[in-house]
Assembly symmetry: C2
Homo-oligomer: 503 residues x 2
Amino acid sequence: MEPKKLTELKTLLAEANDLDSAVSVLYWDQATFMPPGGGNARGRQLATLARLHQQKSTNPKIGRLLDGLRSYEESLPFESDDASLIRVARRLYERAVKVPPAFMGRLYQHNAQTFQAWAEARPANDFARVAPYLEKTLDLSREYANFFPGYEHIADPLIEAVEYGMKATSVRTLFGELRRELTPLVHKIAAQPRADDSCLRKVFPISQQAAFGEAVARRIGYDFERGRLDITHHPFTISFAPGDVRITTRYSEAFLSDSLFSTIHEAGHALYEQGVNPAFEATPLGNGTSSGVHESQSRLWENQVGHSRHFWRYFYPQLQAAFPQQLADVPLEAFYSAINKVEPSLVRVDADEVTYNLHIMIRFDLELALLEGTLSIRELPEAWNARYQADLGITPPDDRLGVMQDAHWYDGMIGGAFQSYTIGNILSAQYLQAALRAHPEIPDEMEQGEFATLLGWLRKNLYQHGRKFTASELTERVTGRGIDIAPYMRYLREKYGELYKVE
Amino acid sequence: MEPKKLTELKTLLAEANDLDSAVSVLYWDQATFMPPGGGNARGRQLATLARLHQQKSTNPKIGRLLDGLRSYEESLPFESDDASLIRVARRLYERAVKVPPAFMGRLYQHNAQTFQAWAEARPANDFARVAPYLEKTLDLSREYANFFPGYEHIADPLIEAVEYGMKATSVRTLFGELRRELTPLVHKIAAQPRADDSCLRKVFPISQQAAFGEAVARRIGYDFERGRLDITHHPFTISFAPGDVRITTRYSEAFLSDSLFSTIHEAGHALYEQGVNPAFEATPLGNGTSSGVHESQSRLWENQVGHSRHFWRYFYPQLQAAFPQQLADVPLEAFYSAINKVEPSLVRVDADEVTYNLHIMIRFDLELALLEGTLSIRELPEAWNARYQADLGITPPDDRLGVMQDAHWYDGMIGGAFQSYTIGNILSAQYLQAALRAHPEIPDEMEQGEFATLLGWLRKNLYQHGRKFTASELTERVTGRGIDIAPYMRYLREKYGELYKVE
């Protein structure tokens, strides 16, 4: 029988969770269907709900119940649902109580204004307009970090908020290793002739793109009875409950890859959230465990599955049927080479798998420098451009394609915003390798358009657990070791070695 | 300068308002876009937010601030914004504190379950399935009424919740008067040949219906920059703020009137909400003042405007152009007679203007009998059918077309749910008559597709005030007297006297 204190704890946690879900619904609406006139009130409504959520998450009763449940927790196996719930709730509570609710309200209000300013300043290439907002964001990010005194690096509390157990040092070490192995591969590929991706740059009517993207999401296992796909400016996935996990995409008529792979990417996030044990609904266990593990799933489905030859052996004839004028004459191999074209480029979200992580490392290093105070917001555009020249050999022609391209710093804090993409790339290869060891038939099944074995393995080993295990606990359980760049580098070397005829 | 206490009061009221708006967004999403899997969590999320809203609306600090602001209020003119805000906030606060937050949570949870049961039982014509839910609804409705001891009739607190100042007795008296004048008119029309409405019952493709309905809503003044039109099962209007007022409709391919007039009806509600003074946003003044005044606007635009010859002299050629196959051969007069066909019928929402109020009176009397305990839920279907036979001369063939047709009792309390429709009909004629006295050019303008004079008059005299004045204060200001059936009966007699050649 569940102890009375646990029932009480679950009630309080569900209340906080429901407020968080309400924030999500209001945010989703804002990004998809809200008319222009609704913006002002919505900013205030979101700030109010965020403040109440913070109050409810830090209710001292939660702390007392968690204390009172310590001996019950210790009597249970580590992996039991109840012990995990208490453990994770305690970890989140102890973090949450450090941050005053009024700060969260201020942060939300500031974020809403900054996002608005960015949305207007970006098309005008007007960094000066957003610079004062970013300065305040940087102040708020430092203020947030200082709610967690005793850190080793000022970015640590911001990184730990999304990647429990990771710190600036450990990310720097990991990224340093990856960089050493990645750079020679990038150089070798750059010495080869560029792939031709002109077949992706024709006119692709949006209604057919939408139908095809939806069919792919459905086929890989995204459940439309428990979700939906809508249009937005900046694609995202959002979960209101395991039974309601929504994805969004955007369409470019002139470039097929844009929407197609963004839809698969978001569907990957959504498969994770839809796969969480429904018994965890409205508890802190009811979502994916960390940003990095989440990205591992979006990137696994988008890249290792969605950019593979196996995948397209099944889907390419359907894509050709959807776009006969554009693709009938394009052989599968030409299409495969086009979607996997490697080329140093300016825009992160359009980057190929090989150079993508260089984009992340630039952002990560700049975040750290800003927080450390060795770089100012005013110097940021120049520092950005200098790093692009040094790392990728190209300089953005303007800030639209430079420092203003990503929403992250304009919609949240500076620090902790980017490292998870690369962590996700690394983990995706570790997880897929483990799945292939257990089920070598997965690639053949993909060629038949069957994804149930892969999805089933991921659900059983990753998704169902929700937040029960930390990223490193999960990785340890699934792969027998910690985070490790070897499988990822092996994957890149094999795939791009063959494509670009480099060793 | 605004007193500090007033600023504090506004902050607390805005917080409560934001929770209420969040409830509205979650409800709107549930009714329009939510996937089936989201229903369970949504019920819980709505219950949590409703409970928190009730807590915040009854924060004792609000009571203390209201006490402290009494002398400031008395120093101001009655009509000033500040005095009105304090007066209305006090009235709502004094009502709200009588109801425990836990009750609101229980009510929401029960409503969600009942609505679900009704949505499944109704197509199966299974009243027995919903009867136990309705019994609990009746218990909850009585429990609610008893939070307001000292009432004259147990329905009074339920009626006053939506129609401040009205009681069972006053509604009964009003309805008695109306009934005495209406019944002879119904009988006279029934003795005449029925109008032919076959021109409305052809196949009308939904996409054209949608485009035409949207164009009409836009033309009469609904602002799509501050709202949107979506599809739902049971059309409604919902306001998240004066800048975000959304309407919904539904389409029947086989019957043109269904969506067209429901869209105009909801646009009427929305014109009211979009017309509220934006300075009242996030305060208790920021919405329409009562259900009856709200219905007066939906019914004014739907019926007195939208079913008039003036209106269709402008719009009918456009409607014919949208549906040439169906309507090219149908003259305006035949169409006008079809949309104004009077016929005793079973379904309230399809009823004509003349018999509509009989439907309302049946429901109102049954609600009162249920609350009084002179009628049981088990006996309700039979009582319903007997009243339809007595009042309209027809008996529903099943409960789908009988007691299960309206969502109201299955989605809220029993008591106070229906009287406002007829109150709205009566008021609509009083208000329009006042507008026509001020601007006799309005009918000619309508024939030119111009609605700005009418809308401007309504905004100035009704809409902008939001909840500043009660229904009776507003009616007194606008018409110089209280609620009065004479203008409404005169309108009906003139219009239908001409159509049916009765005096």
